[in-house]
């Protein structure tokens, strides 16, 4: 029977540095497997849309620029994403992966959460088309 069984721990801790990490001044390296922001490689995509079918959070959309030439743009809603990596699992052409570097995803506004992935000219083309169709553009309406 004892009183103050944890006193030893507490006294020892007096002479130790706090275990709290000094984030954001010191960053612990993220593990390799960390599921951060979703990355998309348009060159391998076949447009099968299995990732969209399996996404539990409706976080990804595929905008078709040219189906025959396999030109696709992915609209990724980062704020809806649950980072479960089911899309990465579903993709048979490994054009999706989750970054272990980009995990600080806080934003002050809502707009930056909508990320467009694709070839620059395709994204540009879609943005221009969306701008031209002032209202009621179903496919690219913001």
């Amino acid at each position: 029977m004892a009183i103050g069984a944890m006193l030893g721990d507490i006294l020892r801790s007096l002479f130790k540095r706090p275990v709290t990490e000094l984030y954001p001044f010191q960053r612990k390296p993220a593990p390799e497997t960390l599921r951060g922001r979703l990355m998309y490689d348009p060159s391998k995509c076949s447009g099968c849309q299995l990732c969209i079918k399996d996404c539990p959070a409706d976080a990804i959309e595929l905008l078709v620029v040219d189906k025959v030439a396999k030109k696709f743009v992915m609209r990724y809603h980062e704020d809806r994403c649950t980072f479960c990596a089911q899309c990465v699992q579903s993709c048979r052409f490994s054009c999706l992966n989750m970054s272990n570097e980009q995990w600080e995803l806080a934003q002050l506004k809502r707009e930056p959460f909508e990320v467009m992935y694709g070839r620059d000219e395709d994204v540009q083309f879609l943005l221009e088309r969306a701008a031209r169709a002032e209202t009621g553009d179903v496919e690219c309406g913001a």
Partner: protein, 393 residues
Amino acid sequence: MPTQEQNQKFIVPIGPQHPALKEPGHFEFTVDGEIVTAASVRLGYVHRGIEKGTEDRTWTQNVYLLERICGICSHVHVTAYVVAVEQLAKVQAPPRAEAIRTIVAELERIHSHMLWLGVAAHEGGFDSLFMYSWRDRETVMDILETISGNRVHYSANILGGVKFDIDDQKRDFILKGLEFLEERTNHYMKIVTTDETFLGRTRNIGTMTKEQAIELGAVGPTARASGVTIDIRDSAPYSAYKTFPVNVITDETGDLLARFVVRIKELLESYRLIREILDHMPEGELAARIPRRIPAGETIHRVEAPRGELFYYVKSGGGDKPERIKVRTPSLCNWSSVINFAVGHKLADMPMILAGIDPCFSCNDRLIKIRRANQSQVWTWEDLRLHGIEYYR
């Protein structure tokens, strides 16, 4: 759920905000002076319509919805669901996948029990134990993050197998973490069983006999602390528990101290089990192929969550979405026991007694049946969603 006749005494309402843990639940304790003479519980503050939600999502999407029933035992929920779906589809997950599932489940048990140890100590006013146990819990959280990629929702399971492998590097990382944790767990065992101030809050408090535990339908460590040998991993082994049996930990006294001792011993048992599985990892594939449409049929599956028996009923109509999924979580089974053995104790002991069963409020709030005379109505998921938005507007 009133347990005793409410007399004309003073009633102390506790909750719905922060009754013991930081989750909502409402308790009414009838007191005579300082002594509680009757107790009742009201649940349902975090009802989220998850079961209804599953009917509107595909089998794959449900993996992630059901994972979010509980933030602490997320993995066992999915394991129960995924194994049930595999039974329906007559697909067997490869042995390596089952071993990995079991390792993650045991790591989850470690983090859950360590979290509980801290919370229960905090309720007893022993904050140094709370802070140190939570500091050490970071070790197992780091292990889970390293092997799965996320601290809380590991998303280890997919239908038919698991997502990731445990290679030698990860294996060494797990073993190193377990070594540290084992040393700390032995230390905590010593503290919990010898510290006089803490024993004053736990010894002979909230005692439940074996007969009471069986009668009230208690499950998990709460029942095992009263000497009931009930553990689904042992009585109906699933996944890798078939090849790697567990030793069921029980205690005879049935008081709060016994619940501490049982859970801490379970931590040690989990370390042993993980080491054993890691030493004898079966080789092979990580996942078996599973059809997108699950054949019609119904099945049940039981798993041992950190809090006790978790029960899943899954019914398929042959489509790509389930027809009905019913979940019964262990916390629900333990409520009747807690409001029964609360009677006769001091009001000040209530937070500790409540925390003693390791309740998970969000887990058990799933269905509210509103009965109105001559009125019956079936809501779709969309109706429910809109109702929820309107209700809180």
